[in-house]
Symmetry: C2
Subunit: 183 residues, 2 copies
């Protein structure tokens, strides 16, 4: 049985907060389960039982951290909306902490559900932007194409070639998507 409230919830919140705090304070490989447990006021065995592993815990925290909190801005037209979103996305994700969170999310993720969640966040935002544009009568590509042409290249470079990434690259990807696809 899952227990979503009460002590279990308090423990989960305390542990997540401890991880977030410690990630900002100590070095990455200095982060250990006992350290997190002490900060959270919890026994190490509790963390091992609930998460099984430091990597799975980090993956859990990372996904929560990567969840977007606000809907993408509405600037009135698709190109501007998508460009702004892509620039912000690249900026956040290519930062050192962003890259660390992405790696954590990918890492302790045996079945790939956490990574899939990250992708779903991006797809959701893009879906909102495209739907708004469609409602305005604009000619829009589908979400899958946008993921392949904009999100995937940015993410690939963040992970595999983390140099020379800037807002201009994001703008170019959006321009190639919108220019080449339809309009």
């Amino acid at each position: 049985m899952v227990r979503p409230g009460g002590r279990s919830a308090r423990v989960q919140a305390a542990v997540h907060e401890a991880v977030r705090d410690l990630l900002a304070e100590v070095d990455r490989d200095a982060l250990t389960v006992p350290l997190v447990a002490q900060r959270a006021g919890v026994t190490p065995s509790t963390i091992y039982r609930r998460w099984g592993d430091l990597q799975e815990l980090l993956s859990d925290v990372a996904v929560e951290r990567l969840r977007p909190d606000t809907a993408p801005d509405d600037h009135g037209d698709l190109r501007t909306d998508l460009t702004a979103w892509a620039e912000q996305f690249l900026d956040e994700m290519s930062s050192p902490s962003g890259r660390a969170y992405i790696r954590d999310a990918l890492l302790g993720d045996p079945d790939g559900s956490n990574a899939g969640q990250c992708s779903a966040y991006a797809a959701e935002h893009i879906g909102v932007v495209l739907a708004r544009a469609g409602a305005r009568g604009e000619d829009v590509p589908d979400v899958e194409t946008a993921m392949d042409r904009v999100v995937a290249p940015m993410m690939y470079r963040i992970l595999f070639r983390p140099t020379g990434l800037d807002a201009a690259y994001a703008r170019r990807l959006v321009a190639e998507l919108l220019g080449g696809a339809r309009s």
Copy 2:
């Protein structure tokens, strides 16, 4: 000073071989440094000193494993060459062991050099294919575009959405690149 030969080289080879063998035999999280050391006939401290970490060792082995051993086949025209390469790439990388190696390569890689090496392998192969096509007089896109349009989407889906990947997807990406870019 680096010592490329002699005992150091033997130890490195033995350790790499031990890792490869054990990855095929035991469960992933059952793989420990002492286990590798015993199989390789080496002291655990040697591994800790040389690699520092099990993840860095795995990353090291993974990059070596992901290095392509043969040049891409020459079928006589760009579309066929690139399609064949993409199909093979996706097939290898999306397999469970391929995904595991990719994750290992990304994992124990503080400065991103190992991940960059993996990307360089793909870029090199694509470069060869494109150069051959160019020498034949075909109209070819540049390597960066091919990476963005073909490699990045495949890799993104392998990592973040590992379902429903097949050769048809690889063919479609190549077709969209060649159809949309020039001819």
